[in-house]
């Protein structure tokens, strides 16, 4: 299950060239109403932070003639948002900020009847890697220590996460399978709650996005052991990747702006230009660095291909999780 980020990075140059002419006819279409900017998660989470950040850049530079109206529709692991977009009455004015429940929720809740491949790709704002963290007082300093400790405790080692079927549980399930680990997994309703209970040592380890653990890492409370990125992360150069350990696995949280199904090509082109310039802004580039997000520039066709592989990958991962 190779997530071919590198391939897309290689395509980045051609993407830039390919999207250039779009700017020309994007002028034809302008939003006529305030733009529904749906957030696939509750207030305060990672996706919410990113959405508000994007909105602030749009406002600051007056990029749109109509305002973005952010609305949190996080219910049912994002099912609420997906249904809202699927049934959007005005697809030209309906956008969504995603995370990976974009892929997992429609697979886990087939009754929703949501096919994300009908959605309209706008801009991939970046992908958020995952890192394995422990508390400094645990005495664990390397991934090898971690493996030894978990095996030693034989099923009593407690990890926290955001719930079975969520991003971190997929990573933990893969890691446990690869190293024959048995852990007790306690689900929480958000990454913040998970970080808090690791800081209070209610749980022993977590798999979390760097943004959510960064404060505790800088204060020395959290120790990163392993990253699930393709290459070592700039912010944590001494932390090995699972790939280096010989397992062909990496996992990222998608941070993207997506349009409703049935959005007109003109409207999509307009939004691609707007959010493309947000992406290029100094503020967003600074955010990518400070929050350890990886860039992943893709055009429409590449995004669609990427979605198709992601849906396939998640289908496999989730079916392994259930077994």
């Amino acid at each position: 299950m190779k997530l071919t980020k590198r391939l897309f990075l290689a395509l980045a140059a051609s993407t830039t060239i390919a999207t250039l002419p779009m700017a020309a006819f994007a002028e034809d279409w302008q939003p006529k109403r305030p733009i529904d900017f749906t957030i696939m998660a509750g207030a305060g989470g990672g996706a919410d932070q990113i959405a508000r950040f994007i909105q602030s850049v749009v406002e600051e530079n007056s990029l749109t003639n109509r305002p973005l109206i952010p609305t949190n529709r996080g219910g049912g692991s994002g099912a609420e948002s997906l249904l809202h977009l699927k049934d959007a009455r005005d697809p030209d004015h309906t956008l969504m900020v995603t995370l990976n429940s974009f892929y997992t929720t429609p697979i886990r809740q087939e009754a929703l009847g949501v096919d994300i491949e009908t959605f309209t790709p706008i801009v991939m704002m970046g992908v958020d890697p995952f890192v394995l963290w422990v508390h400094k007082d645990s005495g664990i300093t390397t991934f090898e220590d971690f493996v030894a400790k978990v095996r030693d405790m034989d099923g009593e080692f407690v990890m926290g996460g955001t719930g079975t079927g969520q991003e971190d549980s997929i990573v933990i399930a893969y890691m446990s399978g690869a190293y024959d680990l048995k852990v007790k997994y306690i689900p929480y309703d958000g990454g913040g709650a998970v970080a808090k209970d690791l800081a209070g040592q209610q749980i022993m380890a977590t798999v979390n996005n760097p943004a959510e653990a960064k404060g505790f890492y800088e204060s020395g409370d959290f120790v990163p052991l392993l990253s699930f990125s393709d290459e070592r992360m700039d912010a944590y150069p001494d932390v090995p990747t699972l790939k280096e350990m010989g397992h062909d696995f990496s996992y990222y949280n998608q941070r993207a702006v997506v349009g409703a199904p049935g959005m007109s090509a003109e409207a999509a082109a307009y939004y691609r230009e707007i959010f493309g310039s947000v992406y290029d802004s100094e503020k967003w580039q600074g955010y990518l660095v400070s929050e350890s997000l990886s860039p992943m520039v893709m055009d429409e066709a590449e995004t669609r291909a990427y979605w198709a592989t992601q849906v396939q990958n998640h289908r496999t991962l989730l079916s392994e999780l259930n077994n």
Binding site: G44, F53, S77, E80, G163, I186, K196, G200, S219
Partner: protein, 503 residues
């Protein structure tokens, strides 16, 4: 005293002209957002967050915190004057604020609310200033078993109240818990109790939807039915002298509730995951339990207004503590403030106090100033709000209905929620006719979503052994107290029978 010099710098920073102007603007905006049914501090802060890039981070957070504060003051206004909770944090304020207003004592209720809010906010700020680091580590020692024990205690305060009909109270709590279970299950991630397979229920039942239905629509129907449209709100008069005597009465009859609310609110506020709504409801329960005259509660007790109002302000300050010291939100509103800090280029977390001490102390300084500003502005507006009550009920009733509907729609922008508001309103009316207390159901729907996952997390931690609630050093005593409180009415009943038999 190192703290004092930091604090002095912070207060000076908050008094800079731009910051002072933002505090006054923020508190005023917050007051009206809080007073608008359905819109609370979460919405206010979220809506205004993007415009804060115009000012430096220090001023931005001071502005948003002022909105948060103002909204806590403002929530009481519609709770008292209209009987619709202005925000979820002000639901408990309707329990006694509304009866006071119907007795023509709206100004007493509003003055009590304003003073209690001020005391609660100030007590919390002082505790915050002096003990922030110690309290932060206390908050961390509250894992799932401790939080669950605390929730158990909260339920116990409502069951063990004695005076009420206990089977009906238990029924009401169970009803609330069932409604709280609708939506997605956090543990398995599966949809659960999606009633009639309507997609809208996947999101669960929003607390504010229930509160507006029960207290907005339900209360209006009740008033119409009881009075046949002839509402006799004794003409409320507003004079400076009248307000002074109200303030005096508020101090005399509301000090106990204020004290209880300030302390409980702060403590609940610093625990991540809880926030101001559970804090205010718990304070109401405890204040009623400790009161010498619990029968006055629900009929217009100033203590019953003071407890939740001091608690919600105290809790909102308290919830800033885990945000600033740990980078973890203590309430939905602080979650958005945290997002704001990232936008402004700060890293929330344990190092914030050290790396950005000017930012942190400027904010703490602004708490003191904001509280004073909010009190003054709030008191100044009270005559305006009381004047609204002079409207004939034939105008007020449709107004309440419209505000309920608009407020219910504004938060989620979903038609599904509007139907729920109407259904809850009708159900509440009939439950009330049959003497079922509604407050326990409201408490259950707030605390249920906290109690249920923590119960299940605890049992996962202990591999199913319920002794985890008794053997942990903090959870143990809390659980024991909760169990005693639940059993108390039964013991009282037995005793009464015994003395009855002796006679």
């Amino acid at each position: 005293m190192e703290v004092m010099s930091f604090l002095a710098d912070g207060i000076l920073l908050a008094l800079e002209p731009i910051n002072l102007a933002l505090i006054i603007a923020g508190v005023t905006v917050g007051l009206f957002i809080g007073a608008m049914p359905g819109l609370g501090s979460v919405n206010g802060v979220a809506i205004l967050l993007p415009i804060t890039f115009l000012v430096p981070p220090n001023s931005a957070i001071i502005f948003l915190a002022a909105i948060y504060y103002g909204a806590m003051y403002g929530g009481a206004i519609s709770s008292v004057t209209l009987g619709i909770p202005g925000a979820s944090t002000a639901v408990a304020t309707t329990f006694d604020g509304r009866p006071l207003a119907l007795q023509g004592r709206a100004s007493l209720a509003l003055v009590t609310a304003a003073l209690a809010s001020f005391v609660g906010g100030t007590v919390a700020t002082v505790l915050f200033t002096l003990f922030a680091p110690v309290l932060a580590s206390t908050a961390l020692s509250f894992g799932p078993p401790e939080i669950f024990a605390l929730m158990l205690l909260a339920f116990a305060t409502f069951v063990g109240l004695g005076g009420d009909d206990i089977p009906k109270t238990v029924f009401s709590i169970c009803l609330g818990l069932v409604l709280a279970a609708v939506g997605f299950d956090t543990i398995s991630g599966e949809p659960r109790m999606v009633l009639f397979e309507i997609d809208g229920f996947m999101r669960g039942i929003g607390f504010i939807v229930l509160a507006i239905g029960v207290y907005g629509i339900g209360e209006m129907l009740w008033t119409i039915e009881q009075t046949r449209g002839e509402v006799t709100t004794t003409n409320p008069k507003m004079t400076a002298k009248g307000m002074m005597s109200d303030a005096k009465e508020a101090a005399q009859r509301g000090w106990k509730g204020t004290a209880i609310g300030s302390l409980i609110g702060f403590f609940v506020g610093i625990l991540p995951a809880a926030g101001a709504t559970p804090g205010s409801l718990m304070s109401y329960g405890v204040a009623k339990m400790l009161s010498k005259t619990p029968e006055e509660y629900g009929k217009g007790s100033p203590d019953g207004v003071a407890a939740p109002e001091s608690a919600n302000n105290s809790a909102s300050t308290g919830s800033m503590l885990p945000m600033l010291t740990l980078g973890i939100p203590g309430s939905p509103t602080t979650a958005i403030l945290l997002g704001g800090m990232v936008i402004w280029g700060l890293t929330p977390g344990p190092r914030l106090f050290i790396d950005q001490s000017e930012f942190v102390w400027g904010l703490i300084g602004s708490f003191y100033i904001s509280n004073i500003a909010a009190l003054v502005i709030n008191l100044a507006f009270i005559p305006l709000f009381v004047w609204m009550l002079r409207m004939p009920f034939t105008i007020l009733a449709p107004l309440i209905f419209v505000l309920s509907i608009v407020g219910g729609f504004a938060a989620s922008r979903s038609i599904h929620d509007l139907w729920l508001i109407v259904i809850f309103g009708l159900s509440a009316f009939f439950l009330r006719k049959f003497d079922y207390p509604l407050a326990p159901a409201v408490l259950a729907i707030v605390l249920g979503p906290i109690a249920e996952p923590t119960l299940r997390q605890s049992l996962l931690l202990s591999s199913g052994d319920p002794m985890i609630f008794l053997t942990r050093p903090i959870a143990g005593p809390i659980t024991v107290i909760a169990i005693i409180l639940i059993l108390l009415p039964a013991v009282k009943l037995l005793r009464r029978k015994k003395t009855f038999a002796k006679n």
